[in-house]
Every structure is written in C-alpha cells, then in structure tokens.
Point group: C2
Chain length 181, copies 2
C-alpha cells in the first residue's frame, strides 16, 4: 500500500519545516508546500494538525527505542544497562534533532495530551529499568541530567561553552558507571 509512504513523506516534510524554520511553528500550509501535497491532501491522511504532530512524535519515539535497544545489547550483562543505553541513545544526533524536538514541545504547551505517547514510553522504560535494578534516586537524577542537557541545547541556555559540552556528557556516562553498581 502506498498510503504509508505518503504519510511518511508528509512527516518528513514536517520535520524539514521544523529544521528550516528554526524550530518555530509548524503550520499545515508550510507542510503542504514543502511536501508537494495540498493542505486538503494532508488532512486526508491526518485528520487534524495534532494528529500529524502526534504521528511525528510516535515515529521519533520508535526510532529512539530502536537505537536504545542496540546500545542495550552492547551493554547487556552490565549493571544498569537499560539506563545507560538510554543515556547513550540520547546523544545520538541522528535520532533527536533538537529543532524537531522543540517544534513538538511548543505544540505540546497548548496540547498537553500530545505528549501522552512519550509519557507511555517513559513509563515503559522506567519499568524496564526496575525489572533488573532497585530504586535509586541517583539513577533518576542522571536521567534528569540527560534531559537537562537536551533542553539546554534546545534553548541554547547551557552554561558551558559548546566546545566543552562533550566533557559534561562524558561525565554523565562516567557517573552512571561509577555511582550505580
């Protein structure tokens, strides 16, 4: 069926818009223009703009999950392999373009339900972690640190000059290895 591919073409266009228009607002008209379809065409495949954004988010989550699972295999057997794989996946620039993330987030401010798939994924990951490790405030703190680094990047509000951010990230990995046993 050609349908899936059309939907993907539209989502690709939406992502390109997010990237090109500086993480600003995604509009249906812009996506229509960029994708080569008419607005009516878009709305045939995604009933509302929210549905389109949700599909974008879901695709992003699916890709993140895949990358994480790859890292999990590398780390399997080691303590906290799931959390550490998640942290590693976060750094993969292929998956999580900050500008795309930002575009979804701004829409989420007006439509909190938009992030429901993300919340579900987060809870799955939490459960997955707790299946092999005990509760640990430190672990959740490191998770928050990873989120913080992402958002600092998104908003360009990092206290650290860009050429030194790699060190901070390495420190995150190191602490994950040392603090959690």
């Amino acid at each position: 069926m050609n349908t899936t591919s059309t939907r993907d073409m539209i989502l690709d266009a939406a992502q390109r818009i997010a990237v090109e228009h500086g993480s600003g607002r995604i509009t249906l008209d812009k996506v229509a223009l960029e994708s080569g379809f008419s607005k009516g065409g878009l709305l045939y495949h995604f009933a509302t703009k929210e549905a389109l954004l949700q599909a974008m988010l879901e695709r992003l989550i699916a890709r993140t999950r895949t990358v994480r699972e790859t890292h999990e295999q590398t780390l399997s057997g080691q303590p906290w392999s799931v959390l550490r794989a998640m942290l590693a996946a976060r750094m993969d620039p292929e998956v999580l373009d900050p500008r795309v993330t930002m575009a979804i987030l701004t829409s989420a401010a007006e439509q909190p339900a938009l992030l429901d798939p993300l919340r579900q994924y987060i809870q799955q990951t939490r459960k997955h972690i707790l299946e092999e490790e005990r509760e640990s405030p430190t672990a959740w703190l490191l998770w928050a640190a990873a989120d913080g680094l992402l958002f600092q990047e998104l908003l360009d509000i990092s206290p650290v000059p860009s050429d030194q951010r790699g060190l901070v990230y390495q420190q995150l990995q190191r602490l994950a290895k040392d603090l959690l046993k």
Copy 2:
C-alpha cells in the same frame, strides 16, 4: 510615577493567565481582560507583546537572583556555595512557577532572542562560580540535572512518581555536597 506599578499589574495579570490557562499561549487580549486595562493600554506600556514577555522574564530572573543570594549567605564559606545556592533557589516554588516558565519558553521557540536576558544571567552565574572554584564537569552536570528536573515538571514527563520526586531533589543536593569539594 505610577507607571511602574501599572506595569507590574499588567505583568501580574500575564502570569495569572499563564497559570490559569494551563501554561498555554498568552495573548494580549487575555492579559487585557485579566488586568482590567484595554489592549491599547497594555501596548502603551509594552510596545510589543515580545517586550511584555521579556519584562516578565526579567522580573523572574531578578527574583530568582534575590532568592539565590539569600541562599548564598547561608552557605557562604562552604565549597561551591554559589552553585549550591543556585540549586536551592531552583527548588523554591514561589519563584519559578512551572506554568509561567513554560509560557515564556513557548514564546521563546518563535523568538529565540527573548531568552537573551536569561542567557546573560546564566553566564554571570557561571563566571561567579568560576571566581571561586575550578572548572568541573560534575558541577555543570548537576546544573543540567536541576534544569532537567524543572523541565520534567513543566512537561509532566518525569519518570518518577510525584511522591518520590523529593528524594531525587535531595539526592541532587547531596551529590552537590559530596561530589564537589
């Protein structure tokens, strides 16, 4: 001059809008209604909507700075007192209502320059920290963790159930004390 107080009344109204309307979009019409002034009245005091949001942000920063300085006095003499004071100020719910923060952030997605005052404050704080301590990736990581906790709260994407988040915050304070010496 009465101007200052009127400006503050308008900013208060804008914050109330941010809180009541679920961190969604702040509009001039809503702020006008809430403040009791007409829209023309608002625009006399703030030339554009962006100026209004910027003023909101600046007031927020000023308040955060005050709270931080109070904590600094308590911690003065101890290592990393500035960073630790900053982390402590972050926890103060009086200052940083997540919904107000979110409202500013969503506007910032379209107007990146809006956050310039914040970026300036961040760099000041960084400098202030480096005046008494050496570079430390761990310190910046803890800062990122504090940011991450805030954003998780904003977007309701914390992996930790709300009744256990206090433990994570405590862990942040504890690590700041133990890891940095």
